[in-house]
Amino acid sequence: MRKAAFFAFFLLAYYLAGMYRSQPLMALCLGMLLLAGTAFLRTRQLRKGISASFPQTHRELIQGKEAVFPVCIENRRPLGAGRCILTLEAGYGDTEGITISHLESSVRYGATDLAVSLFVPDCGLLFLRVTALEGRDWFSLFRFKKRWDAETTLAVLPLPEERLHLSFFSVSGDAALAGLAKQTAGEDIHEIRQLREYRIGDQNRRIHWNVSARTGKLWLKELEGDDPPFAALYLRWGERPLSRRGKSDFFRLFHALAMGLLEQGLRLETVWRDIEGRMIRQKADSSEGVHSLLLSLYQLGAEGFPTEPSTMEDCQGAFMLDTELGWYWEEALIYRFSSDKLEEEIREKNFWL
């Protein structure tokens, strides 16, 4: 449209300049011709020299928060200059919809970093792809379009501060049992950090026989110098493929649960089956470990969670989390979270275990 208007005006002005022998108008026409020629040349040069890439720095984003993400546009032709429109595609690798956006910026010789503001509502592995580069001169007279393929993958993490509020019902918290422990142990009570329920695999010598006899349940001594115990968390896949939102909720809940457990001084061992049915165990004793765990799950989620119902062999003494947002302890449902109110539930609910 602009080009048509430009050349229509040029023809009219040239005709009038010739007919009326107007030198200023003829100068204008000449100038317009030069302008068009230069614009064409610069556009061609820009087409040859332009490229787009993602810098290596940013790899992670936080879900639900706007982040600035750099995209580098480079022009290797000194004569090339004008405006460039990037076609950016963002998606989670599934078929639920890819967001396409066109970003416009001016381009000169050299590299230009565009600050792209990204708002991602869901957790998971996000791919960002530049699929086309469209350019035009400053006056939008000439344009070009060329395909481009630059891709990067971002991990969209849940909010770091989001965690389930857990409180364990331990002996050290119960005055009666604490007193029993003191009276009967005959040991320096500062050595015993807390008592907890016995789990398979615990050392028998750590069983506090007196308390166990009194309560009818096996209790284990945790001493001050001991490493924090592991909390096992089994992940159970559903029968149906998860939507993008479903995966995001699952990751979010997993992260909140893991961070909540860590906050209680526990270490986490997560167990799940991959697509080939192999049992995968991964431990985490810090937020970095949970982070790494999450990335592994993101990879799995990007490929697609197994849809065959897994049979959990023995969940005794272990937590379980299923893709329906159900949280279990030894097959007993503790709570089923709701996708619509997940954030609220994570934030407000307190769990006594």
Binding site: R21, L25, G31, L35, T38, R83, L118, P121, W138, R245
Partner: protein, 735 residues
């Protein structure tokens, strides 16, 4: 489900710095265009600073926010309304004058219109600002600004190159910075502006030097389009016989208009007149009203029932008298048959000194005339045989009566439509016919060149005056019209004549022993005819030949421009001064009732300019201050600390301290209690780490240092005297 959102982070307010420049360029372009309009007279010195002030003021207000913008716009409107009310009488007179300039036929007395132009400028600036900067709608204004220079050219107003440059800057600049969605960057705008100006700077000398050659393709295109149109429409080519003096170019198609057949080959060029012009009005010759004159002749002669012979006698008397003049070798008249190529005869073409020998209205195969060539004409009315004397007396009576009427009918010129021609004749008073003819021919030769593509005549401009005083280029219709008007201005009866000019070489021997010629539209021609004593209407060829020379021969006169010597030796060639317009007084004269009367004008103008400068300076400083503060808001701790030290030096606080002293924090805390000693120590720590530390500065540290800077700034500002406060804010832009 929420969607992924991707958008580009845009630059903040600093990206629009070029907008006021482009806005001002558009405004100045408009003002310079308006100044070229005949009758428009206003003081650029008053209007341009006002325009610059308005553009700057509105743009600065926009940077402050929509509230400030609305307030400033409202203030402008109020100011204009108040000003218009207080100066309503003067403004009304100016607006009335402007109305007459554009829409009245009469020429009003020149009036200074600075007041109304100021009002108009304010309106235009506000409109451009709202459209371009607020609504970001460039298309309507680009269209308007693009069409204006074209309309100016069409209307015959001059288009100043600076006006074009400014308008191009406005159109191109806003076009460049308006990306697909709003602003892109001011860097793009500045680059585009510089590029546009450079391109125009280069184009102007090239266009000035090669303007003619550059125009050729346009003429070729027009000619091609004309030929195609004629071919497909089947319409006959336009000739000159409608009396219109063409305002454009002339293109030929080569179509055969008529076939001629003569008894022998003519020895001179044959003028076949089909049209004679009477009154001239606005580029159009009305047909000569010989019929009316002949009726008057009949009344004068009062021949009663014999009056009906007057028409026939008038048309044939020169032929008849020449035939009876006693000579040693009486010439033989030539017979010519004219057969028009077409269904009907639109006009009656006849040679001079001829008589019709067949009825041209009913002859389907053509009509025949007998005529004498000009070289065979020897009209000695007294030298006739006695047998013819009575007939001679009758013809003479008709001639005398007609000559008397012709002198009155064919010497009128609408001087108000051709004032420059009238002034030319008045400045060169001549009485002798031959001297007048020589003067006209020299004027035409010295001030015009023959061209069939002289270009168009602008609207409102007389085509003859445009030919002689502006374009200096034209073809036969222009030469003939100019000569006819000049003859009339000197009191010599003259008429514009049009028809065909058939040179002898066009004739070739025919099959029947005659000589035939095919007359095409290329032989269409216009000339001037003057009423000579005894000879009546005699053609005078005033159009240059292929060498550019004009040769005129009529009884008693044989003159050629080629015989007058080299051009540089010809003192008598009047060189027409085209700079001065006689329609209005010269533009640079201050008209009566000027906005700036001579006695008080000078100091008032200077005061006004100083005020404009002061306000503009203030706006500029404020914008600069905002830019500095904007950059400061994202500066690192090192830059902020340097700024802090600079501020201390300006305020005379902590003189001689560079921040590296051991007790810097304590001393500064004493001088500036708004910041505690521990905070100063933290500032020093962050700045040292940023300067010498291994890692990158922490954003939190930068923000802390900036916050301390702000507190120290406010504390020191309150303790400064007023003149230092001004410098503190506007000059140094600390706060």
């Amino acid at each position: 489900m929420a969607e992924i959102q991707i958008r580009l982070q845009k630059e903040k307010a600093g990206a629009a710095l070029v907008e006021p420049l482009f806005l001002l360029a558009g405004e100045l372009g408009l003002l310079l265009l308006l100044q070229e309009v005949r009758g428009f007279s206003f003081s650029l010195w008053a209007v341009c600073p006002a325009a610059a002030l308005l553009c700057g003021g509105l743009w600065c207000a926009r940077r402050k926010g929509s509230g400030a913008t609305a307030a400033v716009l409202g203030g402008f409107v109020l100011l204009c309304a108040v000003g218009a009310y207080f100066f309503r009488e003067g403004l009304a007179a100016q607006l009335q004058y402007l109305w007459e300039v554009f829409f009245s036929d009469t020429t009003p007395t020149l009036m200074d219109t600075t007041g109304s132009m100021l009002l108009l400028t304010a309106g235009m600036v506000a409109l451009l600002f709202i459209g371009e900067c607020l609504l970001k709608c460039h298309w309507p204004f680009a269209l308007l600004m693009s069409c204006l220079p074209l309309l100016w050219v069409l209307a015959g107003f001059r288009v100043n190159l600076w006006a074009l440059a400014f308008l191009t800057l406005f159109i191109g600049g806003f076009w460049a910075i308006r990306g697909k969605k709003g602003n892109v960057s001011h860097g793009t705008g500045i680059s585009a502006a510089v590029f546009l100006l450079a391109v125009l700077l280069f184009s102007w000398p090239v266009a000035a030097r090669f303007s003619e050659k550059l125009s050729l393709p346009a003429y070729r295109a027009e000619e091609t389009a004309y030929r195609i149109w004629r071919r497909f429409s089947g319409s006959a080519p336009e000739l000159y016989v409608n009396g219109g003096v063409s305002r454009g170019n002339h293109y030929q198609t080569g179509a055969v208009m008529m076939e001629l057949s003569t008894t022998r080959q003519p020895s001179e060029a044959l003028y076949l007149r089909g049209f004679a012009g009477g009154d001239y009005w606005n580029g159009q010759w009305l047909p000569a009203e010989d019929g009316v004159l002949l009726e008057q002749v009949k009344e004068i002669l009062n021949w009663g029932n014999w009056s009906n012979m007057v028409d026939g006698m008038y048309r044939t008397m020169y032929y008849v008298v020449n035939r009876y003049v006693i000579r040693d070798e009486p010439p033989t008249p030539m017979s010519i048959t004219i057969c028009y190529n077409g269904d009907k005869y639109p006009d009656h073409f006849a040679p001079y000194y001829s008589r019709l020998t067949s009825d041209w209205l009913t002859a389907e195969d053509g009509y025949t005339c007998e005529f004498y060539e000009p070289g065979d004409m020897l009209l000695d009315w007294e030298k006739v045989p006695d047998s013819f004397s009575m007939q001679r007396d009758w013809n003479r009576a008709v001639y005398d009566a007609y000559a008397q009427q012709a002198a009155a009918a064919y010497t009128g010129v609408p001087a108000e439509r051709v004032p420059r021609l009238a002034r030319l004749a008045a400045e060169h008073p001549l009485d002798d016919r031959e001297e007048i003819t020589a003067f006209i021919l020299q004027t035409l030769r010295g001030n015009a060149v023959y061209s069939q593509t002289p270009g168009w005549t602008p609207m409102g401009e007389d085509v003859v005056e445009d030919f002689l005083f502006e374009k200096h280029s034209g073809y036969c219709v222009h030469y003939a019209s100019a000569a006819a008007l000049l003859y009339r201005l000197y009191g010599i009866p003259a008429r514009y004549a049009a028809g065909y000019l058939v040179p002898p070489e066009e004739f070739s021997p025919g099959e029947a022993g005659d000589w035939t010629a095919s007359v095409t539209d290329e032989l269409a021609h216009a000339w001037v005819e003057i009423f000579l004593p005894d000879y009546g209407w005699t053609p005078v060829e005033v159009t240059p030949d292929f060498r550019g020379e004009i040769t005129v021969r009529y009884p008693g006169f044989d003159w050629s421009t080629a015989d007058q010597g080299p051009e540089e030796e010809r003192d008598t060639i009047p060189v027409l001064n085209t700079e001065q317009s006689v329609s209005f007084p010269v533009q640079n004269k201050v008209p009566a009732g000027s906005a700036f009367p001579k006695e008080k004008g000078q100091w008032a103008l200077w005061l006004y300019l100083v005020i404009c400068l002061a306000v503009f300076g203030f706006l500029f400083l404020d914008v600069r201050r905002e830019e500095i503060l904007r950059r400061q808001s994202t500066a690192g701790c090192r830059e902020t600390f340097s700024r802090l030290l600079e501020m201390f030096r300006f305020c005379g606080v902590m003189a001689g301290h560079d921040g590296i002293e051991l007790d810097f924090a304590q001393r500064t805390a004493r001088e500036i209690p708004a910041v505690s000693c521990s905070e100063w120590e933290a500032v020093l720590r962050y700045t040292t780490m940023a300067a010498y530390g291994r890692g990158t500065p922490e954003p939190a540290g930068d923000a802390f240092v900036r916050e301390v800077y702000q507190r120290a700034c406010r504390f020191l500002y309150l303790r400064l005297p007023w003149h230092k406060k001004l410098l503190f804010r506007l000059g140094k832009a600390f706060l």
